[in-house]
Amino acid sequence: MTDKPLEPDSGLTQPETREESEAASIAKESPDAAVASAPVSDVEGMKEVLLDDYTAWSRDHWFHDDIEMHPALIALRAAFPDAVVDAVRFRDETTIHVAPGQWRAICLFLKDHPRLRLNFLSDVTAVDMLRLRENPRFDVVAHLYSLPNRVRLRLKTGVNDGESVSSLVPIWNGANWMERECYDMFGIIFEGHPNLKRMLLPDDWDEGHPLRKDYPLRGWSEFPVMNTERTVGRVRTRWTGRGVS
């Protein structure tokens, strides 16, 4: 390492080739291009896609008052006619409920769609809807984010206890631990997960799944209550004047 010139700490390593520096400068300046390592031609092509018919895909439509104008909803309704169950808007956040059967196909579609490009999986979790509705019991929630478009989308699907939902690990490796935690906490089976076992709790934990609503705060098992029975009589000191038993 000593034969190399020492690099100053004035910032970052200098790009070595011209192509790299161009890609880096585009990534820093252009809001559309988030991936610096992408070749220049790819970034340009992405810009063309975004500029093409830009009015129909502008940022306003993601936050339009009419939720039916949401681009992801339009695209999903066109590609999966029966899949969209419901769409909710709350505080500028859009939630799309979809049928569980096409969970992975829908996520792959949203990821690879040339304009939606919801290519970043922020979070996978679940909600136990035990006290809120009858059927299905759980909501599996995925928070998707689009690095080029800078928008979030929440996808939900409902599963019952004992049913399985297809895993997202073939699409995003980041779903691996999130789904494991989800299985650990709720007992939801993710079909196709490579290593579905307990994440935070011990492997031999046999007391169920703690984030379910019917799981008590202190667990199922009885805790040992210490010092309720005295095996030895109370020893009083002579200072109390009561004698020693």
């Binding site: 700490d9 970052l12 988030a34 390592s37 999986l121 922020s122 928070h143």
Partner: protein, 427 residues
């Protein structure tokens, strides 16, 4: 008469020692197959009490010589059920629990939680409170990065860095102590702003710190950036290409070190970050050295942000707490003197408030990445679901990708470069 006081050795006692592996009991199928094929794979358990694991992380490694062929992180030793606890407390009572997740940057956790609750309730903090939120959370980012730098360098072998970094972290904790009286678990922010006034000497103290810190940080950079040992241990170690980083949902410096420009402060600005001038440093190669450079540059940008925020809020004279009769805690003024104020305050604290039915996901750019809070409300005073998207939990899932094929000694460098705090990983 002589007595033999020493016990007979096992050999003298007639014990039979066998060199046969099966004498220790039947072999498992895997062990038998390994014996038959002549494979020489050793399973090494690292942790959970290993000092370089930053807490209680256990890593089960499979080694071929000194090369790692499989790596399985085992976490959960610090799991305290923060999400379950959050579902059993009222909204205002949940905020102190978030201090305990990422405990080296407690105000940042407060910020994300409070922003999520405010978005749920439709409350906006006053401008001055937002500036001070930015200042305090950026100080927390600085404290977290200092802990990262100290421990990361300590793992790799630069012992004195940890002493220097913790020296500067003390200054930041002193600032927190001046403000709220606590140093580690500060419980600083509340729904609607700050309920405590900003002490008069605090802006001056922060400015003094801003004068001191850049020189000190330059000293660290002089010690490390061109250090041949440091570069040998970090350059080319744990390389993550950009597409893989996105695929693993990495955030923070782990993602930006690979050259992906995703900083929530820029991408989806919260508080007043859209009024502040700062840059997002990006790496080129995605290795440990680039992530080090990115975090060092982030610390310089943080200094810049704090200075600007102090300048901009210097002459503001507004309140620090929003006024909202339902969702914001009533002012403390008068609670000790008038019965009405005391009752209103008491009832608000005991009964809590009921936000509208809905769900929000708010993410802030924590020191370790995207720190997200997903809150579901069913209209009751308790959150129906309280989910913390911990950045280092997700970042840690890329450890097997980085470790497989590397040397055993690099694992400590990789664990350090992910920048984990097990309180946040296990929640």
């Amino acid at each position: 008469m002589t007595t033999n006081t020493t016990l007979p050795t096992p050999y003298e006692a007639g014990a039979v020692f066998s060199t046969d592996a099966t004498s220790m009991g039947p072999l498992t199928i895997e062990e038998d197959a390994a014996l038959q094929s002549g494979e020489r794979v050793m399973t090494l358990n690292m942790g959970p009490q290993h000092p370089s694991t930053h807490g209680v992380l256990r890593v089960v490694l499979k080694l071929d010589g000194e090369v790692i062929i499989d790596c399985d992180p085992v976490i959960g030793y610090l799991h305290r059920g923060t999400e379950k606890l959050g579902e059993h407390h009222r909204y205002a009572q949940v905020i102190p629990w978030t201090d305990r997740t990422d405990y080296v940057a407690a105000p940042m956790n407060n910020l994300g939680c409070v922003l999520a609750f405010e978005k749920l309730c439709g409350v906006t903090a006053p401008e001055r409170a937002q500036y001070w939120r930015v200042i305090m959370s950026e100080l927390a980012r600085l404290a977290s990065h200092l802990v990262w730098l100290g421990t990361h360098a300590l793992d790799i072998g630069a012992l004195s860095m940890s002493l220097y970094c913790f020296r500067e972290r003390e200054l930041i904790l002193d600032l927190f102590e001046t403000f709220v009286g606590a140093r580690l678990t500060t419980n600083m922010m509340e729904i609607g702003g700050f309920s405590r006034p900003i002490p008069e000497n605090l802006p001056g103290m922060v400015r003094d710190f801003l004068k001191i810190f850049p020189e000190r940080q330059q000293e660290y950079a002089d010690l490390l950036s061109a250090n041949p040992i440091w570069m040998a241990r970090t350059k080319g170690v744990g390389v993550i290409p950009a597409d893989v980083a996105i695929n693993y949902s990495l955030t923070g410096a782990c993602l930006r070190g690979s050259g992906v420009n995703y900083d929530i402060r820029k991408a989806m600005p919260y508080c007043v970050y859209d009024r502040l001038d700062f840059e997002v440093p990006l790496g080129q190669h995605g290795d440990t050295y680039d992530r080090y450079l990115v975090r060092m540059e982030e610390m310089r940008q943080t200094i810049k942000i704090i200075g600007q925020a102090l300048d901009q809020c210097e002459r503001m004279d507004t309140e620090l707490m929003a006024w909202d009769s339902e969702y914001v805690i009533p002012p403390h003024k008068g609670t000790m003197t008038t019965a009405e104020d005391m009752q209103r305050h008491f009832i608000w604290v005991i009964k809590g408030f009921s936000p509208p039915v809905g769900e929000v996901y708010v993410a802030v750019e924590g020191p370790k990445g995207e720190l997200g809070y997903y809150v579901v409300s069913d209209g009751s005073p308790l959150p129906y679901r309280f989910r913390i998207r911990a950045p280092d939990f997700v970042n840690l899932s890329s450890l097997p990708y980085m470790a497989n094929g590397s040397m055993l000694a690099d694992v400590v460098a990789l664990i350090g470069t992910i920048d984990i705090v097990l309180g946040s990983v296990d929640r």
